[in-house]
Amino acid sequence: MRSMLLLVLFVLAAAPASAQFAFAPPRVDFTGEWSPRVYNTHMDIGDYTGMPLNEQGRLRAETWHPDQLDLPENLCRPHPIDHGLRVSVSQLRISNELDPETRQPVGLRLHVWWQEPEQVIYMDGRPHPSPNAPHKWSGFSTGWWERNTLVYRTTHLKEAYLSRNGVPKSPKAEVTTRMHRYGNLLTIVFIIHDPLYLTQPYIRESSWILDPNQVIPPFPCEITPEGTIVPAGKVPNFLPGQNDALHDFAIEYGIPFEAALGGAETLYPEYIKKMKTMKVAPRTTTTHYRRTQ
C-alpha cells in the first residue's frame, strides 16, 4: 500500500506542469505579426498628464533624471512588456506557447522588438507563484477568455516605469490586460493597478494591424567597455524640490503647472473648468528637456 502511494506521488511529481492543468482552448487566433499604431506620449519631464498619480508617485517621478538611462546597468534594461508594448518601436509577435516536454499548448507568447521583452500568458489554469517568488521584467501572467476577449493578469513585475519620463511603477503593481481582435485590428487595453503610486487604476489602450510580412529584427544590446557619458559612481537625479526642468513642459504648452502633474481629478471633463481658474505661466519657451529614446 505504501509503495503504491509512493508510486502515485512519484508519477504526479514527474508529470509536466501542463499535464496538471486544463488548457483553455483559443476562441480567437491572436498569433501572428502585428505592426504597431501607438501614440508614444509622455516623453517630457514634468508631463504627468492623464496619470492618476498619488503624492508618492509624483515625488519619485520628480527625482528622475534622463541621464539615468546612461548608467551602465540601465543601458540594456528592458521595459516590462505592458510598457514596452506602448512606448517603444513595438513590433509585436504573438505565438503559441508549447510545453517543452509534451508539446501541448499551454498559452501564448508575446515578443516585442525593442530590448526583446517576452511574456508568456499561461492559459492552463496554473496558479500564480508565491508573493515571495522572484519578480521579473515581464512578471507572471495567467489568462482566461471572456467571450472572445483574452484577459490576463500579470503579477510579479519588477519595479519599472509607467512612462518614458520616469514615472514609477512599483513592484506591488499588477496589470490586467484585455486583448481583442477586430478582424485585422488588434486592440489591447491595459488596466494598471499600483497601490503604491496610483490612486485608481490607470487605463490606456494601444492597437496593432496584422502584418504577415513584418520581420522583427534582433535587438542586440551590450554595454560598451569604455563606459558611458555618466562618470562611474554617479547616479544622476534631482533632489526633491530641485528639479529645474519640471516646469518647462507646462510653460511650453500653456498648461497650469498643477494640471501637468496629473492626479485623478485631472482626468475628467470638470477639470477643464477648474483649469480656467488656475494660474498659467507665460509661454516663454518652446523647448524643453526631453527624452528622445
Binding site: 501614440y39 508631463d47 492623464g50 496619470m51 467571450r147 476577449t149 477586430y182 487604476p201 490607470y202 487605463i203
Partner: protein, 277 residues
C-alpha cells in the same frame, strides 16, 4: 477496413445531425438570430458615461496649438489645410461644430447618454456640443442622405462569426436539404459593436483644425467590461479613420468612458471652436 470508415463517418453524421441549425420542429429554426438588435445586444451600453482622459491629454483637455499634429499621419494636403485653421472664423461662420463631428466627437471630454431609440437604433447623445449620433442596425445609407456632422452610421454586433464552417469531412457543414449551417461547436457569441459611418461633413480630428474630409470612412469598435479593481464598468472605443484626402494611412484613436449611475454632472454646452469641450 473501408466499410469500417464508412460506418464511422455515418455514425458521426447521425450524431451531429440533431444539432445542426435550422432543424427546429414545426419549421421554426433553432438558434435563429434575435428579432431585433436590442434583443440580440452583446452588452448593455445604455446609461450615462463620462470620459476619462488618460492619453493625448494635452490634445483633448486643452485646445492644442495650430499645426500641432504629432501622432497624426497627415499628408501634405492635410498639413496645408491644418495650417489654415482659424477658430474665430469657424465660430463666426457657423462652423463651430467642425470638431464635434462623428470622427472627433468621442475624443472631446464630456458625458454620453446612450439609449435605444427603437429596437434597431441606438442613440448616443453628448453634452459637449449637444450632438446626437444614431447607430442603425437595419437598412443601409439612403442614396440621397445629405452629409451631416454625424453622418450616417450603420451598426452591427460583431464577434459572432463562426470559427470554422468545415464539417470535418472536407466540406461546409450542411443540413439535410443542403443548406450551409453553423454547428453549435462552431458558434461564437457576439461581443462588440461595430459602427461604420459615412456621409459626414468635413470636420476636425482634433480641436485645432486637423482635417478629415467628407469622403472619410469612420469605423468604430465598442466594448464594455468591468475592471477587477474598482468593479467600475467601462466603455472603450477603438476608432479607425480612413481618409486618403488628408491622411497617408488610417489613423487609430482610442477613448474610454466610465459608467455613471445617473445624469449628475450632465453639462450641455454649445459647439465652441475655441474651447476643449
Amino acid at each position: 477496413m473501408g466499410g469500417r470508415v464508412v460506418l464511422l463517418a455515418a455514425a458521426a453524421l447521425v450524431a451531429l445531425t440533431p444539432y445542426v441549425e435550422g432543424q427546429g420542429r414545426g419549421g421554426a429554426p433553432q438558434n435563429a438570430p434575435p428579432p431585433t438588435a436590442k434583443a440580440g445586444a452583446a452588452f448593455d451600453m445604455t446609461g450615462y458615461w463620462v470620459s476619462e482622459v488618460t492619453e493625448k491629454w494635452r490634445y483633448r483637455m486643452l485646445v492644442p496649438d495650430k499645426n500641432d499634429y504629432q501622432m497624426v499621419p497627415l499628408n501634405p494636403e492635410g498639413r496645408r489645410v491644418a495650417a489654415e485653421w482659424d477658430p474665430a472664423r469657424d465660430q463666426a461662420t457657423g462652423e463651430a461644430c467642425r470638431s464635434y463631428g462623428a470622427v472627433g466627437l468621442l475624443q472631446i471630454p464630456g458625458r454620453l447618454h446612450i439609449t435605444w431609440q427603437d429596437d434597431n437604433t441606438l442613440r448616443l447623445e453628448t453634452d459637449s456640443g449637444k450632438q446626437t449620433r444614431l447607430f442603425r442596425f437595419a437598412g443601409s445609407p439612403p442614396m440621397n442622405h445629405e452629409p451631416t456632422w454625424q453622418g450616417y452610421s450603420s451598426a452591427m454586433w460583431g464577434g459572432g462569426e463562426p470559427r470554422d464552417r468545415r464539417d470535418g469531412f472536407g466540406g461546409p457543414a450542411q443540413d439535410a436539404k443542403g443548406h450551409v449551417v453553423v454547428l453549435p461547436a462552431q458558434r461564437k457569441e457576439p461581443d462588440y459593436l461595430k459602427v461604420t459611418t459615412t456621409r459626414m461633413r468635413t470636420g476636425y480630428l482634433q480641436k485645432n483644425g486637423i482635417p478629415y474630409s467628407s469622403n472619410a470612412l469612420l469605423e468604430e469598435y465598442f466594448d464594455v467590461f468591468s475592471d477587477p479593481y474598482t468593479k467600475n464598468t467601462w466603455l472603450v472605443v477603438t476608432t479607425v479613420v480612413t481618409d486618403p484626402q488628408y491622411l497617408v494611412e488610417p489613423l487609430i484613436m482610442h477613448a474610454h468612458f466610465k459608467k455613471l449611475p445617473d445624469a449628475t454632472g450632465w453639462d450641455p454646452t454649445e459647439c465652441r471652436a475655441d474651447e476643449p469641450r
